[in-house]
């Protein structure tokens, strides 16, 4: 037999036909299909022992109790803790997806720690007379806040800066009528479970220019002209006539009368979007102080901590006085607009921010150090605005940090030369020593008087799922709400014709990528780069729905996408909250939108 091209082709053809009669090609096809299902990067569910662990959510000051289902030590799902008397087993969507945060693709994963420390040390030793070292704490009321205050007391001219905190608590269970001036009662205000548990017993009057989620769920929504809230409050306080208020606010006289009558006849409370707003002092007129607006004690602290630096507001700091500014942005909290901070910085100031996100102060600081995110770090959470009694609860870490992180409290303590102790344990011991209140254990739902708990058991329960709750005692009126006084209405400027209304307070920091997908990409919530305009304003500026435009304020410009929404009243631009918008709008709530 000679080897010809024809014979060679026949040999190959025979081989192919023969191969089809064997299992080899069929097996290779299915194996290849399976191989494609097992590529690296495809998430694999954890295997191993399934256990429930308890912690607390730190994503907002509500600090809801969390039951984490862990497989082989890895949290795979989060849920609320039913017997918890404040959170009532509820968790918000952010809380439910909180365990995704450590793996967020946009997380700050590294930072120049040594360089930052060297720069801070150099600036502290070389600073001139009157130049201050400051810590800005966006979530005051935590134990680490006390560490910052102690550290600043240990440093000459140290300053502890924090956004103003309400010196009161709201007892929703005691209210029959709630008058809310834009407070997002059902969308991030207070503790979600507590608000919804009390919801059946109060009537909600929501006063705000746009129909937010809270307005949609309120019993009455009064769409008020932006910037005229004080006129409405003055009418409710009896300082101006209802007719005058109606003219100014654009709300019907009958509706204002009905609200005035309701708050006169039942225990009521007035809430404002900003808890420090003068509108809150209207509660004194309603005789709500000591009934629905009450004073709350702070959880005990060790005696040695009481020589700590006082809390100072940014506005009280002289210009160009801060040489070193350390900003703890590790937890989402009250954002101080950068234009309020910048004038306070010395020309050669060193700004270090501890953050997991590059969205906030990381845009302005020289050094951005990666901070732990929930649920990576042991942290306590101060009481929420709707928590009447003092509480102490620890967010026990569920996993070790997945990237190298810096613990802000430890670093600031090191800079100030404070002794290296565990402040959480020290505070737990102080609370135990005070001997008041009770300890609730989540595993069995039992509440035990503190007099019957040993210090070690108290600490163990706090870390394994428990919460200390102070005795409520007799309700007392809070101090410092000030006197209600009517200020002028929002000025109209021809060059900035639109009033800025923040649609929803964004928490800042990271949020689960799953939530981004569900909410932001589907426009269920506004993203930071979107604004909503009334059809009339859009038409007069030549702006189309989905069109690119520029939002201009006295502080700057931002390229945004416009949405035309018939629910937005004329003369208003609705924006999302968040650091970028806060920096752009600040306290100056006027803007204009022009076509890009």
């Amino acid at each position: 037999m000679t080897t010809t091209r024809r014979n060679l082709l026949k040999f190959v053809g025979g081989g192919a036909a023969g191969a089809l009669l064997t299992p080899a090609p069929w097996r290779l096809i299915t194996d290849t299909a399976l191989w494609s299902e097992n590529w690296p990067g495809i998430p694999r569910p954890a295997r191993g022992e399934i256990r429930a662990r308890f912690t607390h959510c730190t994503l907002c000051p509500a600090g809801c109790a969390v039951r984490a289902r862990c497989v082989n030590g890895q949290p795979v799902s989060l849920a609320g803790v039913k017997p918890h008397p404040i959170s009532h087993g509820a968790l918000c969507p952010w809380g439910i997806a909180g365990h995704h945060l450590p793996y967020h693709p946009a997380r700050v994963r590294q930072g120049p720690v040594k360089e930052a420390l060297a720069a801070v040390s150099r600036a502290i030793t070389q600073r001139g007379a009157g130049e201050r070292v400051a810590v800005l704490d966006l979530r005051p009321g935590r134990t680490v806040s006390w560490t910052y205050r102690r550290a600043m007391a240990a440093i000459d001219d140290g300053l502890y800066l924090a956004p103003r905190q309400p010196a009161y608590a709201i007892d929703l269970t005691a209210a029959k009528t709630v008058v809310s001036f834009g407070a997002p009662l059902f969308d991030g205000w207070g503790t979600p479970g507590n608000v919804f548990a009390a919801r059946a017993n109060f009537r909600l009057v929501q006063i705000e220019p746009v129909e937010t989620r809270t307005a949609a769920l309120a019993d009455v929504w009064l769409p008020i002209r932006p910037g005229t809230e004080t006129a409405m409050a003055a009418a409710l306080a009896g300082e101006i006539t209802i007719a005058e208020a109606a003219r100014e606010t654009g709300v019907e006289e009958q509706a204002i009368s009905a609200v005035k009558e309701a708050i006169g006849n039942s225990p009521a409370v007035v809430l404002a979007a900003d808890p420090g707003s003068p509108l809150m002092s209207l509660n004194a007129k309603l005789r709500a102080l000591g009934r629905t607006v009450v004073a709350r004690r702070e959880s005990p602290v060790p005696d040695a901590w009481k020589k700590a630096a006082p809390s100072t507001e940014m506005a009280a700091v002289p210009d160009k006085a801060i040489r070193v500014l350390l900003i703890d942005e590790s937890l989402p909290g009250g954002y101080v607009p950068w234009q309020d901070i910048q004038p306070k910085l010395a020309p050669n100031a060193v700004v270090v921010v501890f953050s997991s996100s590059s969205e906030g102060y990381a845009r302005h600081a020289q050094y951005v150090l990666p901070a732990p995110v929930y649920p990576e770090m042991a942290e306590d959470i101060g009481p929420a605005i709707d928590t009447v009694a003092a509480v102490f609860r620890i967010a026990a870490p569920l996993i070790a940090p997945v990237v190298p992180v810096v613990n802000p409290g430890e670093l600031v303590a090191r800079i100030a030369g404070l002794p290296q102790t565990d402040p959480l344990r020290d505070r737990a011991d102080a609370i135990h020593k005070a001997g008041r209140g009770s300890l609730l254990s989540y595993a069995d739902g039992k509440s035990t008087s503190m007099k019957e708990v040993t210090a070690d058991d108290f600490w163990k329960t706090l870390n394994q799922g428990g919460c200390w709750m102070d005795d409520t005692g007799k309700k007392a009126a809070p101090a410092g709400l000030g006197k209600f006084g009517r200020s002028g209405t929002c000025p109209t400027a021809h060059d900035l014709p639109l009033a800025v209304v923040v649609a929803e307070a964004r928490r800042g920091g990271l949020e689960s990528p799953l939530m981004s997908k569900l909410e932001r990409e589907s426009n269920l919530r506004m993203t930071a780069n979107r604004v909503a305009l009334s059809p009339a304003d859009a038409r007069s500026n030549g702006i189309e729905n989905g069109g690119r435009c520029v939002l201009e304020t006295a502080c700057g410009r931002l390229s945004v996408v416009a949405m035309i929404d018939a629910g937005v009243p004329a003369g208003v631009v609705e924006v999302a909250g968040g650091p970028r918008m806060a920096d752009l709008c600040g306290a100056n709530q006027r803007a204009r939108v022009v076509r890009a």
């Binding site: 010809t4 026949k10 053809g13 025979g14 090609p25 097996r27 399976l34 191989w35 022992e49």
Partner: protein, 193 residues
């Protein structure tokens, strides 16, 4: 013309031989277990039952292959005189190093299988799926399909009965056949949730 037929036939024969004889031999990668463990010794001399080591956790999940803690419970010091035991203690127990066992029965990620439902509720004997593993004097080599990454015991029809171990009872067809025989539900979503 005859030459062409011979060429075709020889190509075909070569492919058939390769596909039926060589392919099954090269399909699986063979690896040895880290420890020469004898189920038989443990069952006969120590009187151990399957569930003594392959236990259920308190929450009902199956613990699978025991961890070193379980072995150390008895083998902190040598109980016998065998070289295998001495080696195990020196290599793993004393340095507290977990043996990297190769699991014959590890199901893929897309399979949901509950041991407790089968063993406690269904009263299925271990041997029914795992064969006489508990009576063997040594662990057989672990065979893995390098393309799919699956153990030979859990996936793939028998390719060819040539010098290879008879396939076990932990493949999808085995599950379906058993459920069918007993008149039980065997829809896809029962296991592939």
């Amino acid at each position: 013309m005859i030459g062409g037929k011979i060429a075709f036939a020889s190509g075909m024969l070569l492919a058939l031989a390769g596909g039926w004889l060589a392919f099954p031999r090269i399909l699986y990668q063979t690896r040895q277990q880290p420890v020469n463990f004898s189920h038989k010794v443990h069952a006969e001399k120590a009187g151990a039952k399957c569930e003594d080591c392959h236990s259920f956790r308190d929450d009902g999940t199956y613990a699978g292959i025991p961890t070193l803690d379980k072995c150390s419970g008895c083998h902190t010091a040598a109980m016998g005189t065998t070289a295998e035991e001495k080696n195990f203690i020196d290599q793993y127990v004393t340095p507290n190093r977990e043996p990297q066992w190769l699991s014959y029965a590890q199901q893929p990620e897309n399979v949901y299988f509950s041991h407790i439902a089968h063993v406690k509720l269904g009263h299925v004997k271990c041997e029914q799926c795992h064969g006489n593993e508990g009576g063997t004097g040594a662990l057989r080599p672990y065979q893995q399909d390098p393309i799919s990454g699956y153990s030979r015991d859990i996936w793939g029809r028998p390719v060819a009965p040539v010098g290879l171990r008879n396939e076990g009872g932990m493949k999808m067809d085995d599950c379906v056949n058993c459920h069918r025989r007993q008149g039980l539900e065997y829809s896809c979503l029962g296991c592939h949730k």
